[in-house]
């Protein structure tokens, strides 16, 4: 109903402290142990795995996102971990057995570009919390501080098979703030959703949006102004980082004064926080790569990246992923050169494509969007495999948020984020029928007891029926 696409963008990143949950054992270690701030835990995750008996899904087509598609296969998971995947798997006696005949099983889907919770439904000004459009550089704001766990869009996305999201600030600002990496589960607080060990993202934005928002408010008003704005911010952050790194060596004297804006950017410079960069045009992405080289950081993903197919070779060489739509185009000038083969062309060039939503509707059918992009590629003679297309919505976005060792594939040891589909997930007629998040049955299409509803919906919205 609403189109946020003009406003959206950005990720923030920082390392989160591991929460009180039992997982994950494989939390990624920060690239650097030094941090700008004091060692006390900051804004920790309080995520705890929901208990669930072991589950064996059998007789299903298992799509692992590791290159395999196992017909009549099984998946066993226990205590939030995948235990076994294969043609024959023995179940413990206490396991719940799910008959997967005719069904397909995939990893939980991951959307690395969502504004759930920060642009919540019903979409009034009161819930418009995604753009701190008061300054072109707001690296100091964190999406988690805007995130509303009662957003009624959350259960809709869960029903679409989503298990992890990156909730991003919008794209009004050159540097929009930190993203929140969240387990998509019903919760009272965002802390209960924060993915333990995830790297924050830093949302940055190129092009039209910052120009439009600030052009008559002190700038930037041009693309060259945008570039100067990023550089000025990172120059300050370099000095800030030096001061803190020096102080952290011996802790002598008073610590430097904290500055939240530079603190986020310093974490980017240290490699602890991943840059998630809204950028449409190929030439601008090349500019941003130069910027990253100037300051010695990596851009983890270009988001929207409507023209990324034009420089797919450069992006592959740079190791920067692209988070794209299947077929959005035309809503503004920098989106005029969209092609349906964008993801496929990046795959062909050796890049790491991701299908993202940036949309509360699209997040409910990422599988369909990936299907469109895959078949558009195939019809154009680009040999995209089903496994590759599945990776576009699972392990590739997991990589973009630094969680690919924990989620995104069906492999023993990985977190049991598992979706059971009524049929081939690349068919328009298939739906998620069960969604397990960390082994917990977060959604079951045939069981109202497993169809979470937010507080907002109670008494406001008709109860979900079979049509939902």
């Amino acid at each position: 109903m609403r189109s946020l696409s003009f406003l959206l963008l950005a990720l923030t990143g920082a390392c989160a402290s591991a929460g009180g949950g039992t997982r994950p054992a494989q939390a990624p270690a920060p690239a650097s142990t030094e941090t700008t701030s004091v060692a006390r835990p900051q804004y920790p995750s309080t995520y705890v795995r929901h208990p669930n008996p072991p589950v064996l899904i059998r007789n299903a087509t298992i799509m692992t996102a590791t290159g395999q598609e196992i017909p009549n296969g099984s998946v066993l998971f226990k205590d939030g971990r995948i235990v076994a995947v294969g043609a024959k798997v023995d179940a413990p006696s206490d396991a719940v057995v799910v008959d997967g005949t005719g069904k397909y099983v995939t990893p939980g889907l991951i959307d690395d570009h969502s504004h759930l919770g920060v642009y919540a439904a019903p979409g009034t000004d009161a819930e418009s919390d995604g753009n701190e459009a008061t300054n072109p550089v707001t690296a100091e704001v964190w999406a988690e501080h805007s995130f509303w766990p009662q957003d009624p869009q959350i259960p809709l996305a869960i029903a679409g098979g989503i298990t992890t999201i990156q909730a991003l600030p919008g794209s009004a600002n050159l540097i929009g703030g930190r993203s929140a990496i969240l387990k998509l589960i019903p919760a009272r607080t965002v802390q209960e959703m924060k993915f333990p060990g995830a790297h924050y993202g830093l949302k940055m934005a190129c092009g039209e949006n910052p120009k439009r928002v600030y052009g008559r408010r002190g700038g930037p008003s041009t693309r060259m102004g945008n570039m100067a704005g990023y550089r000025a911010a990172f120059i300050l952050a370099e000095a800030y980082r030096r001061r803190w790194d020096a102080w952290n060596k011996d802790h002598k004297g008073d610590p430097p004064e904290r500055n939240l804006r530079s603190e986020s950017l310093a974490e980017v410079l240290r490699g602890n926080m991943y840059v998630q960069n809204h950028c449409y045009r190929a030439d601008e992405m090349a500019q941003m790569i130069d910027l990253a080289h100037e300051f010695g950081f990596k851009i983890r993903s270009f988001h929207h990246a409507v023209e990324s197919y034009k420089i797919a070779d450069l992006l592959a060489k740079e190791g920067t992923s692209v988070s794209v739509w299947a077929d959005w185009w035309g809503f503004k000038e920098e989106a005029m050169d969209g092609v349906q083969q964008n993801a496929a062309l990046n795959q062909q060039a050796g890049g790491r494509p991701i299908i993202h939503s940036d949309d509360p509707g699209g997040i409910q059918r990422l599988n369909q969007e990936a299907a469109k992009a895959m078949y558009a590629g195939q019809r154009a003679g680009i040999p995209i495999t089903r496994d590759q297309a599945l990776r576009w919505i699972t392990v590739n976005p997991a990589w973009a948020v630094g969680l690919d060792s924990i989620v995104g594939t069906l492999e023993p040891g990985k977190m049991a984020d598992v979706v059971v589909w009524s049929g081939d997930p690349f068919s328009v007629y298939s739906k998620a029928v069960q969604v397990y998040n960390d082994g917990w049955l977060a959604y079951d299409r045939s069981d109202p007891a497993h169809q979470p509803r937010t507080d907002f919906e109670l008494g406001e919205m008709p109860a979900p029926g079979s049509d939902r």
Binding site: M1, R2, S3, F6, A121, P122, G123, T124, P152, Q153, L156, E208, Y309, K310, I311, A312, D313, D327, W328, W329, G330, F331, K332, E333, M336, D337, G338, V339, Q340, Q341, L345, A349, P360, G361, Q364, R365, Q368, A371, K372, M374, Y375, R379, A380, F426, S427, V428, Y429, S430, K431, E457, E460, M461, P462, P464, G465, S466, D467, R468
Partner: protein, 402 residues
């Protein structure tokens, strides 16, 4: 020149034909001459001079009709200079017919038609009465060549977004419309008095009141956007009071009052993939189209986003997932919109005499695996090219050769 182009015979042979007006026909052919369908069946003699399109293993359907959007009226959404769907400064813009705002050279047209959408309603936006919607084929060098019917209906907004134009209350929206309708009828009765300035002030300009008369006499439809159940009921109430030929659009909570809509014989234009709650429609849900269809409402599907109009078939596929039958969904993007827009004598099905808007698909048109193999608009085969296919060709191998 035009006549020359049309003076040809095309035979699409050996495919599975979905005429929509009747059951599917296996191993059947569609014969086209001079832009019209002349025969459909399993035993159609193919003239020797016919250009043949071998459709063995393919599916053949009527061209899809998108129930609403701004194709041709909006080129780049964020660039005001390329937007021609809305007129400012007139909350009752009934005389605003969008036709002359249509750009036959719009890049949106080729992008959309090569995905099997051959016809679309071009709809004005904004205001309380937005203007007149027209039906266009997605081919033609001039506006005249594109137009199928003008106007199809006068568009009114009874949703939340219209309140401001009426002073801030839903009740005022309805009263304002009633006042305008009454004034139009009064104006019609007393045109002489009006021209002598012997009438009280009217609530809209004479030209807008004039434009409403065909609506008030049931010759042109009122296309009313309404989402909340009570707003849908208000639209039905107005239609009853003024004996209007009503088409409901949006109708997000239509499923809650499907029986009343069906009883009123009112058709709806609905987006299946629409379920994000707002205060205008907290009851919005995917099952809407299916529930209404089951209740006997005539449903046409739409993809409201102009640049995504090509995703109409994805919308239709999802309508099937959420409650419509496949046959209902195909009808809802072909014959039903043709009927709703009053052009079913020429459009919407594969029958002799109908305009030859025909699509040959590699399979089920709603499935992602399926590609478009041939598109014919008014009997002319459309090259499967767009700005996007040109970009693809240029950048398929890097670096490109400029």
């Amino acid at each position: 020149m035009i006549a020359l182009l049309l003076a040809q015979t095309i035979a699409i042979t050996g495919g599975t034909v979905y005429p929509v007006s009747g059951p599917k026909l296996a191993n059947a052919s569609v014969l086209i001459r001079d832009g019209r369908i002349v025969a459909v069946g399993t035993n159609v003699p193919i003239p020797p001079d016919a250009t043949r399109i071998d459709a063995a293993g393919k599916w053949i359907t009527p061209g899809l009709i998108d129930g609403a959007g701004q194709i041709g009226l909006v080129e780049i959404s964020a660039v005001p200079g390329t937007r021609d769907a809305s007129v400012q400064g007139d909350t009752i813009a009934a005389s605003f017919n969008v036709a002359e705002g249509i750009n036959p050279a719009s890049t949106v047209i080729p992008v959309t038609r090569i995905e099997g959408i051959t016809t679309a309603l071009a709809v004005p936006t904004g205001n309380l009465v937005s203007g007149q919607a027209v039906l266009i084929d997605l081919d033609g060098a001039t506006i005249e060549q594109m137009l199928v019917k003008s106007p199809v209906g006068v568009v009114a907004d009874l949703s939340e977004s219209a309140k401001d134009a009426a002073g801030g209350s839903r009740a005022a929206v309805a009263e304002r419309l009633r006042g305008v309708f009454r004034d139009a009828l009064e104006y019609e009765r007393r045109k002489t008095d009006f021209s002598r300035a012997q009438m009280q002030a009217l609530s809209a300009s004479a030209r807008d009141l004039d434009a409403l008369l065909p609506v008030l006499h049931g010759r042109v439809a009122l296309i009313a956007y309404a989402n909340r159940r009570s707003d849908i009921e208000t639209a039905l109430r107005l239609a009853k009071e003024f004996k209007l030929k009503l088409i409901l659009a949006g109708a997000a909570e239509g499923w809650e009052v499907a029986a009343a809509i069906a009883a009123a014989g009112v058709p709806v234009l609905v987006e299946p993939l629409s379920n994000i709650p707002g205060y205008d429609a907290l009851g919005i849900r995917y099952g809407n189209a299916g529930i209404m269809a089951k209740a006997g409402v005539k449903v046409a599907l739409l993809e409201p986003d102009t640049h995504k109009s090509r995703n109409l078939r994805q919308q239709a596929g999802n309508a099937v997932s959420y409650g419509m039958t496949w046959d209902q969904a195909l009808r809802a993007v072909t014959l039903s919109p043709a009927e709703i827009f009053g052009v079913a004598d020429r459009y919407g099905s594969l029958e002799p005499g109908k305009v030859a808007n025909v699509v040959v698909w590699s399979g089920d048109p709603f499935e992602f695996t399926t590609g478009v193999e041939h598109v014919l608009i008014r009997g002319k085969e459309i090259p499967l090219k767009s700005r996007q296919t040109e970009l693809l060709e240029r950048y398929k191998k890097l670096p490109p050769s400029y």
